[in-house]
Subunit: 652 residues, 2 copies
């Protein structure tokens, strides 16, 4: 850098000061367009304040510079997961999980169809999900960057995403529930993935009229065993626990001091079940009568032992610890929680549990030490109608924080602070875990649901960044019709005061929760190696095709086409079959170079494969109409990409 000259600046405003400062810095060979007038005009023309300039510099990420953090956000009823870079707040990728997505070839070829089919309940095709709570795999209570789990509220399913290739690998469900909400949340070493039901139904898919709600409807907490070596959930090693027909809500696993326990909120201890046209209160009103609902305290480690000891029943294929067993074995306790609670979040040290009551003005801070002592002393304030022991509320808590109207979810930083989303007041409240006092609030535009901070629910939160996941955006963005994006607001929580840095519209789904992980924790692959790998199993596909060994062979079960793709042709590029033939296409992308993805589509056959480098895919189809059907590469791969095509020729 050239030495600067002394200079005198008479400035009348920040913009001018910056401009002049820049001007003073310009050597003869100034970078293109960098001059004082330009900068001054810029701030003026774009009406930027000093704070805007700061925010711009805190978020702008120049070409080729990588983001520091990834956000993995649920996609709500899009059925997908969104990967976002922080601090740039750029959408890096969506990951197809419950909904077929043709760009990724997900649901348009055999391998991924099989994953989706795992999720077809009662054999019924389900082509979407309502993804609520993503959970990154953890080791010792910290994200390890290996796997991501996501729940589907609509159909009570759980999916596994492998972060080596950012692809879904498995979908599981239990017939004990039909909808979930408190899922997914992992235990500190990812032994179990917790999924709890939202709207109670009769266990195992039975029929019972809503008037029999209290007797026959039940909630369920599911503990899915994760086999890390296999990278899959092991349903046969998983178990459930029966719960009363309250509406179980968010969950969190204990950690450090509270490791071995899980905490699940509930609302509707009134056991309202609707019937607005039948003289009953709506759920909205019926579920909002009581001052207290019940925080569920579950000893999952002990429950796992109880399940292992065989003290379960098997209903609809799942081992379940019945409510009576849970009570008798000391696995389940309730504590009152005010009022219509929603979020439950364990502090980084595992010592406390923070609950936000959505019709309350407080967060309640429960002490795990006190809870444990009460359990040990069997000091109960009574039992619920199902016999579950209730721990005395006042003896369980350390205190309450006066937050504001509608506190929901809480995240943590590295300095002993908590951050709670306050829905009705539409702010993020920062408060001290030590003092239980609000330090500062920052407005959210608008209607904040969850928050996510960097490592904000782990044993080692990072501080630094927090995102307010706002449900409504209203006037924030250029209008796009009646269906508006949500608004993710990035907030600097390292500054002396919280500073809003960025508004990111989310116009592809409705995220609920997210987790934010340091980018250097992830080590994704760039190709499937060697060429011919099945992306789901990670092993060589038995039908993989080696260059030079391509061909078309008629066998008893149909016509097998063994094809390769390499820039810029398919081999073979003419497939001759007869009308009515069942065709088995086996296609290997021979490339290993990063980003050398090919696609494969056949006109009017509803097939589209995404063949990343080295990937092998199989797809079956019936050549049911005579005619000539072009096939081609759908991913722009080279200058002669348009010439990467061929014909499926179906003789009459």
């Amino acid at each position: 850098m050239k030495p600067m000259h002394k200079y005198l600046v008479v400035a009348s405003g920040a913009a001018l000061a910056i401009a002049l400062a820049f001007a003073a810095c310009q050597p003869q060979s100034a970078p293109q367009g960098t001059n004082a007038a330009n900068l001054q005009d810029l701030m003026k023309a774009r009406n930027l304040t000093e704070e805007n300039v700061q925010a711009a510099l805190k978020t702008y990420t120049p070409t080729g510079v990588k983001d520091e953090y990834y956000i993995f956000a649920s996609g709500g009823h899009s059925g997908q997961v969104f990967v976002i870079g922080v601090p740039s707040m750029r959408l890096l990728r969506s990951i197809a999980v419950y909904t077929p997505e043709p760009w990724q070839g997900y649901g348009y070829g055999d391998q991924s169809n099989k994953i989706l089919e795992q999720g077809n309940r009662d054999g019924k095709s389900l082509t979407w999900g309502d993804v609520h709570h993503p959970a990154l795999s953890e080791t010792g209570g910290d994200y390890d960057g290996q796997y991501l789990f996501v729940g589907d509220k609509a159909n009570a399913r759980v999916a596994v995403v492998d972060l080596k290739d950012f692809a879904a690998k498995q979908i599981v469900y239990t017939n004990l529930m039909r909808s979930d909400h408190g899922g997914t949340f992992v235990t500190p070493n990812t032994d179990y993935i917790i999924e709890s039901s939202q709207y109670p139904v009769p266990l195992g898919g039975a029929y019972a009229d809503p008037t029999k709600y209290q007797e026959q409807y039940r909630g369920v907490a599911m503990f899915w065993k994760f086999d890390r070596a296999a990278g899959r959930i092991a349903p046969e090693e998983s178990f459930a626990m029966e719960l009363p027909p309250y509406m179980q809500d968010l969950a969190d696993a204990g950690k450090l001091d509270s490791d071995g326990y899980a905490f699940i909120n509930s609302f509707n201890t009134e056991m309202s079940h609707g019937g607005i046209s039948e003289g009953q209160p709506s759920l909205e009103s019926g579920a909002s009568q009581n001052d207290m609902d019940y925080l569920h305290v579950i000893n999952w480690k002990k429950a796992a032992e109880v399940a292992k000891a065989g003290k379960t029943e098997t209903i609809a294929g799942t081992r379940i610890i019945r409510l009576k067993t849970a009570i008798d074995e000391g696995l389940l306790y309730f504590i009152g929680e005010p009022k219509s609670p929603h979020g439950v979040d364990v502090t980084p040290d595992g010592k406390e549990i923070v609950v936000g009551g959505k019709l309350d003005t407080h967060c309640t801070v429960y002490s795990f030490e006190k809870i444990k002592a009460l359990i040990e002393q069997k000091k109960y304030a009574g039992n619920d109608p199902f016999g579950v022991p209730i721990l005395p509320y006042q003896d369980s808590i350390r205190g309450q924080v006066e937050i504001g109207l509608g506190p929901l979810h809480t995240q943590f930083d590295d300095k002993g602070n908590a951050y709670t989303s306050v829905f009705i007041e539409s702010v993020v409240a920062k408060w001290s875990l030590k003092d239980l006092k609000v330090i500062e609030k920052i407005p959210a535009q608008y209607n904040v649901g969850h928050l996510v901070a960097a490592g904000g629910d782990t044993v080692h939160p990072h501080g630094k960044y927090l995102v307010s996941m706002n449900k409504w955006s209203l006037d924030r963005f250029a209008p796009v019709g009646p269906l508006l994006p949500q608004n993710f607001q990035l907030i600097d929580i390292d500054a002396p005061k919280m500073q809003l840095l960025y508004d990111m519209p989310i116009g592809i789904g409705e995220p609920h929760y997210a987790q934010m992980i340091a980018a250097d924790k992830l080590h994704p692959i760039t190709a499937y190696t060697p060429a011919g790998t099945d992306a789901v199993t990670g092993k060589m596909d038995p039908d993989h095709v080696v260059g030079g060994k391509e061909g078309i062979e008629r066998r008893a079960d149909g016509v097998h086409v063994s094809m390769t793709a390499i820039r810029s042709h398919f081999t073979p590029d003419i497939i001759r079959v007869k009308r009515g033939d069942l065709v088995h296409l086996h296609l290997t992308n021979q490339e290993q170079a990063q980003d050398a993805t090919h696609g494969f589509a056949i006109s009017e056959y509803n097939i589209n494969l995404s063949l990343e480098p080295g990937k092998h895919e199989n797809v079956d189809f019936k050549a049911d109409r005579a005619g000539v059907f072009p096939f081609y590469c759908t991913e722009f791969c080279s200058a002669l990409h348009l010439e990467m095509a061929g014909y499926l020729v179906v003789e009459p």
Copy 2:
């Protein structure tokens, strides 16, 4: 603003200078965190150059500030359209077109299912498309902000999107082709939407072996008539033109001087058709032999008269002007174009046509005046094998521009400059239309396909912004596995030199082309008014439900459920039916407030409606299993959103 004091700054670098300038501007009550150390640290810590700071300030868009421009980008094989704000480069929304998308409820209820069903060719369900070229409706050669049209390369379809509500309304296709590429492009007043085929097939879906390629395979240009009053394409008023079996590629409509004409590129005048395993050259090699392919010059206004006069045949339901008629009536001419041409773009004054040859190093600039004179003089250089008159190449052009290796697509600014994407060299080249000389190049990271400039293909380009739509991103972003996002690079074209402003990852599809329109041209609605409107017809749905008139009624054709949604309950909230019942659900969102969207999902029934304010939806389903199935609002609508739920109770 407080008056500033004179101050003396001794600076040793740009960062420090800015920091000190800021420091000097700080009154006692400094905005949070705005201080010298902070700013200096920021540039240092984030390693930002002066140019980065400029770019940040040119793109950063503070909370609540609207973007100046919209980009409507095709979504490639995602099947959707992406709406992006400029200069912030934020994804504002995706619009579901060819692929079901549950967040938008698209393909999960009756109204939108009907749109998708329009696109089911031969009754075969098609659940994706390969969206290539979006075209905004035009009036007088300028975007009017009313409609958007998009082609589906995979299945040769065209869709209409209404920009009042950013929703797809119609899908059409002709059985004359199976794949398209040169579509969609509109004529200057949107009389016609041009769609031309990519891979020739026998006309009308017939069978013919590829060895009969020259005799029996054909290209087709389709001219879809747009009925602006109805907001729909009128297939019965549309017509096609038969073309030789070259591979027709991009298209553009003439304007001003050249209004009434259309220009379509082609490659593969070699009539190669693959057969790599049958001793034939691959298409990649076979289609790259000739030095020249043919620019197709079509007089579509005259063709429309010829069609109107009945000089057509009807094949597979579409009126087609046969090749002989096109020749005899003077509707079709060819001109040589070097080599493997790809993009064809008419200049803003309509006087010239720019063609990029993807295996060439030049852009060729054709003069419409010269072309017209040659046609009038019948001055031909011969005929192609099908008898189409060929205009002499040298007499048709004004000249060539030495661009670099692999020129593709060209856009224009308001100062007489053209911008061409150069794929193999991986740059954007700015050149003078007057001098046909390159002025400047800027690198693209990496492999640029299309470009889009503000109004860049209209009669009044805006200049200002240009986006390089790069196919590969490689090392630009934090890694996300083997399937990488594309990279949209925003370039300032108003600065003295082109300046790269922003890298935007596109990780949800593979855009091909885009158009950029000033935001003030669009006037979208915020609600469907009055409540009960069918979003597709724009009229009151016959089954709309008024508050207080809800109910469940058993009729001959099944059980009709008339339901309303309003924060925060559905009425009725218990639906009792018998196993085997056909259920007709009619659901009106009573809200009119902006952003007060509700969703409606039934567990395990694969139904998810998106009910924007005032929208009415119908959905039919068979209650095929006994049991209790929760339904609930899938769009977070209020503090008691979770309580907005009910039960579908199916008696055995």
